[in-house]
């Protein structure tokens, strides 16, 4: 139907069609169908696709500039060019592994056996060493906090050292509950702190996508503190990538109930140079109904090089805010 038959095939088909009215009818139907299919229009993609593509390409290029290709990149390129190298590489690794394994096992077999010093039994300690057992338990248990619990627990169970625990085991259990809760709280705090540290570290990362990941960590933090806020505002005002700034604006808007955040957002309006972020800022201010944003938005309107679409948007925002 779309003329992809060879001349010989075409001739053969025509000969057959001349003798077969049924096939002729089928072919006609097919042609009609094929033509009708071509009449079904497809909607054109929207203009924002181009904008999104440009932003994606720009972000990707920046990431590539910041990243030096490692050995994995060169290996990937090599393997893509010569797929056979993948096998060769695997084989080399296998041989090296086997060689190392052999060498290590030989080395172990040849090493002189360690003999215990004379006078100390190597296998079974004498019964008189039983008194050392609790000490061993403590050492195995680990951290200082754990050690406290282990001590009181083991003492209570044995009913020897601590008279109070021996007479009232319930009291010891309650004490354990409380200390477990405390430990949980300490752990939760530590996780929270770690999350915060990871987030702050990610915000410093040269890769834009890592910084975006950092900002998304911030969205998960329930109680936000000054350090995190400072880092987020610094990203909002200074990050070179407009996508990162947009995501940060979104994250900060979630804490708009905090007066300091609102103040920071209003102050940030005039710091934004990208039309995308400026427009998003106007949207946020409208959503928050923040009257204090009127003045900076007006000042933004006075800038001569302001994008025309942003100008219209800010004007609309101002009429709805005032």
């Amino acid at each position: 139907m779309d003329n992809q038959l060879t001349d010989a095939e075409k001739a053969e088909m025509e000969q057959h069609l001349a003798d077969c009215p049924e096939c002729r009818q089928q072919l006609e139907d097919n042609h009609r169908l094929w033509d009708s299919m071509g009449e079904i229009p497809v909607p054109a993609p929207s203009d924002k696709m181009q904008v999104r593509f440009d932003a994606m390409l720009e972000t990707y290029k920046q990431e590539q500039d910041n990243r030096r290709p490692g050995i994995a990149f060169y290996l990937q390129q090599l393997f893509a060019m010569k797929p056979g190298f993948t096998w060769a590489y695997s084989l080399i690794i296998l041989v090296i592994g086997a060689g190392l394994g052999y060498a290590v096992s030989r080395g172990l077999n040849n090493a002189p056996r360690v003999r215990p010093p004379e006078g100390v039994a190597a296998v079974n300690p004498p019964k008189s060493r039983e008194t050392d057992t609790p000490v061993t338990t403590v050492t195995l248990t680990g951290s200082a906090a754990d050690r406290g619990t282990a001590n009181s627990g083991s003492a209570a169970d044995r009913g020897t050292a601590n008279a109070g625990s021996a007479t009232n085991p319930d009291a010891a259990n309650t004490g354990n509950d409380i200390s477990e809760k405390q430990q949980l709280k300490v752990l939760a705090d530590q996780v929270h702190e770690m999350r915060e540290m990871v987030m702050l570290a990610l915000l410093e990362n040269p890769s834009a996508s890592e910084r975006i990941r950092g900002v998304s960590y911030a969205s998960d933090i329930k109680t936000i503190n000054k350090n995190v806020l400072d880092a987020l505002f610094s990203t909002l005002n200074n990050d070179p990538n407009s996508n990162v700034r947009l995501i940060t604006l979104d994250a900060l808007t979630r804490y708009a109930d905090v007066p300091a955040v609102r103040r920071g957002l209003v102050q940030s309006i005039l710091q934004q140079g990208s039309p995308l972020v400026q427009a998003a800022m106007a949207d946020v201010m409208l959503r928050l109904q923040e009257k204090k944003a009127v003045q900076p938005l007006k000042e933004l309107l006075e800038q001569k090089d302001l994008n025309e679409m942003v100008r219209t948007k800010i004007k609309q925002t101002l009429t709805r805010l005032i």
């Binding site: 497809v42 993609p45 990937q76």
Partner: protein
């Protein structure tokens, strides 16, 4: 694409200019979803950038592109799972003030579209690649990783299936 592979990432913009519409057409025909198709086009170009080193230059760029597009589409359908939103065709065959004859034609085309959608994904894909993407049988064979003879069989079956479905409603 070879220039992109060797590090000239700006050339990707040219490829986008040239191919984003046909790619969008393919994905839209396969899903009937405007927004999702746009997202998928973006995703395909992102994958092209990330896996540019896998482009050997031995085959056609278009074949490689549709390979990636099919993978993205597969992921999308897997994520969407059983949930299939209504296809967004309703406003495409436009016109409120059509004369009766045109209105009839419009309804016919809408019916044909419905029938194309009701084909199995395998049949629909081969028809879309051949009819709307203007791919030659050999190119389709490259995209689908099957022989040219198998492509011919699939197209023949798909057309027959569609003809039967369409004639039933006429």
């Amino acid at each position: 694409m070879l220039k992109v592979k060797s590090g000239d990432l700006d050339k990707m913009a040219l490829l986008f200019q040239r191919y984003h519409r046909p790619l969008y057409g393919f994905l839209f025909h396969m899903t009937g979803q405007k927004e999702a198709s746009e997202d998928m086009v973006q995703n395909v170009f992102y994958r092209m950038l990330r896996s540019r080193h896998t482009f050997t230059g031995l085959g056609e760029f278009r074949t490689w592109m549709y390979h990636l597009a099919r993978n993205v589409l597969k992921d999308h359908l897997k994520r969407a799972g059983r949930y299939r939103p209504m296809p967004e065709w309703e406003d495409r065959i436009a016109g409120d003030d059509l004369v009766e004859e045109q209105l009839e034609r419009k309804q016919e085309l809408e019916m044909l579209q419905l029938k194309i959608e009701s084909l199995s994904p395998e049949s629909r894909e081969v028809l879309v690649l051949s009819r709307y993407q203007d791919l030659k049988y050999a190119e389709i064979a490259g995209v689908l990783d099957i022989s040219v003879a198998a492509v011919k069989v699939r197209i023949h079956r798909a057309i027959r299936q569609l003809r039967i479905l369409y004639l039933q409603t006429e």
